[in-house]
Amino acid sequence: MRAVIAEDSVLLRIGVVKVLEMAGFEVAAEVADAEALLAAVEEHRPAIAVVDVRMPPGFTDEGVRAALVIRQQWPGTAVLLLSQYVEERYAADLLSAHTSGIGYLLKQRVADVEEFADSLRQVAKGGTVLDPQVVSQLLVRRHSDPLDRLTPREREVLELMAGGRSNAGIAAQLVVSESAVAKHINSILAKLDLPKTDADHRRVLAVLRFLGVT
């Protein structure tokens, strides 16, 4: 699988490239700004683009805007955004336009090499990965809604789901059995009044409702 990376900090770029290679990606292009990123995606049609939110020339949200363009024009390319800090509006912007092949992580997560490699693979496969901090920040904005009906445990499970964990991953994190996790998830889906479609899609919908973007 091919990947491109857009990151203006050289050190971090080298690090991410190494992790990408470790995760089995072939890095087709390394660029430092949004314009070059779009050109590289056009040229290489990678499976994933790893994009810094803040890039030259404006150092504001160039990466987010580029990500929206990429998901729109080249649906085959997933985007994983890296950010120094959490801005939940970016996540909301991204997720309200696209519900798959999107990731939003803090830069510091790159250091957890194996988890980061997992996230890269998941996003490239069309999954959604959100940083736990993004998730908790989105929660701050929620005031009253069906989510209040969830028990604290269910809420924890939902947060981990939003973070892109599988049932096994959630079970490991919470130190419970996988069947317990499945039970929690069923209960969550019921409480959120989600339509019965295929399981994966319901999971995504639950997460989106949780994040307040649908």
Partner: protein, 416 residues
């Protein structure tokens, strides 16, 4: 040698420091003389016969003097500076106002009071003192004059030496008096002029307050800018390097599968340390000046604090536009500190943060449902916060009855 020096000192003692006041008084008298000439000008050429003509002959030169008021003030300030080394602050803020503006100002009334009333009176006194100098100098040196006059023309032949001795003594006494009077008069003139030609006390205070407010705002901004610079430097330098280090250690951990157990443990440890250092540096940078605050404003930055807090925090930010950077920073750190206090002391189950703009005031409220009893002065955190709030002319109040709830309200200026 020593004795002559001492003798000279004793003789000159009464006149010590009289030279400058005398020169000063003489220039003052000259300026007033010039004004007098202006006033007298019409009368030199004609003697007005009707009432109207008399009125005109008085009013026209008076009007000329009044309109020359600002220049006269400058001349007088120059006189004080050059002759006495006394600086009378400019009565105007910034440049000199136009004549109509000047005439309407209270400063004009004060200055004209000096030019038309106090100045002439003081000049009259000065002329008297100068005459006194001349007369006493002549009297003190009466023997010289007597000697100069040819003997056949001398008036009295009898006892003139005794009389002359009296006159000499009186002259010396008068010289001392003139010296003292010159200094006293110069002091009186200085006091009058400072009150009348400089800014009034209120104006001085107002100007001082303005200057202080400006310099303080500048200081606050400088500190803010400096914090931001440090934040950027850390972000571009140490932070990136640490991430890179942690990534490399993480890669080593993940890829070097066949390492001996010891080496693996060391790498593990190093990786964890690097990540912890990264976290600590992140916290430090956030404490200096969070990038999110500069980029995205208060709403996003406060949500960030709320998300990191270990208890549920509701955030409502309603601002029509972004306040000044210094105000934003104070608001941000207020919320940060307040929530830290809530977590440490309040035993609350949740907290609420609201920020809104009411007119020109940004009102920030942090409330919790905890145990209350927070001391506004006792806690160093709150005291530091109050100082920070005061640095941008804000106000902080804490309502925290024992048993709760605690409500912290901060009002900050917010120019829309």
């Amino acid at each position: 040698m020593h004795t002559t020096a001492r003798l000279r000192r004793v003789i000159l003692w009464p006149f010590q420091g009289a030279g400058r006041p005398v020169a000063f008084l003489a220039t003052g008298a000259l300026i007033q003389l010039a004004a007098l000439v202006v006033m007298a000008l019409p009368w030199i050429f004609l003697v007005p016969e009707t009432w109207a003509a008399t009125l005109l002959a008085v009013l026209v030169p008076l009007a000329a003097l009044v309109s020359a008021g600002p220049s006269l003030t400058e001349a007088q300030r120059g006189r004080f500076r050059a002759r006495l080394g006394v600086h009378i602050p400019s009565p105007y803020e910034g440049s000199r106002p136009s004549l109509p503006e000047w005439l309407r100002s209270p400063a004009a009334r004060r200055q004209l009071g000096y030019h038309l009333l106090f100045g002439p009176l003081l000049a009259l006194a000065a002329v008297f003192v100068l005459l006194m100098w001349a007369a006493s100098a002549v009297a003190a040196s009466i023997y010289v004059w007597i000697w100069l006059v040819p003997p056949e023309s001398r008036l009295g032949q009898v006892g003139y030496t005794v009389l002359a001795a009296y006159i000499t003594v009186a002259g010396i006494a008068l010289l001392c008096a003139a010296s003292w009077l010159s200094r006293a008069l110069a002091r009186l003139d200085t006091r009058t002029a400072t009150l009348r030609l400089g800014p009034s006390r209120e104006e001085q205070l107002a100007r001082r307050v303005e200057d202080l407010a400006e310099s303080r705002a500048g200081l606050v901004d400088t500190v803010d800018a400096e914090r931001r610079r440090i934040e950027r430097d850390l972000h571009d330098g140490a932070q990136q390097r640490l991430v890179s280090l942690a990534v490399n250690l993480g890669l080593a951990k993940a890829t070097l599968g066949d390492l001996p157990e010891d080496a693996r443990r060391v790498i593990d440890e190093a990786h964890r340390e690097a990540k912890e250092a990264m976290e600590e540096l992140n916290d430090l940078v956030r404490g200096l000046h969070p990038a999110v605050l500069e980029d995205r404003g208060l709403d996003a930055a406060i949500s960030g604090i709320a998300a990191r807090a270990p208890l549920p925090v509701g955030v409502t930010v309603n601002l029509p536009s972004r306040p000044a950077p210094a105000v934003e920073a104070v608001a941000y750190f207020t919320v940060s500190e307040a929530l830290t206090n809530v977590v440490k002391h309040a035993q609350a189950s949740r907290a609420e943060v609201t920020v809104e703009c009411l007119g020109a005031t940004l009102v920030l409220v942090v409330s919790d449902d905890g145990v209350g009893g927070a001391e506004p002065v006792g806690g160093t955190g709150l005291a530091g916060l109050a100082k920070r709030v005061a640095s941008v002319d804000g106000r902080l109040s804490v309502d925290s009855p024992v048993g709760g709830p605690t409500v912290l309200t901060v009002e900050l200026p917010c120019v829309p």
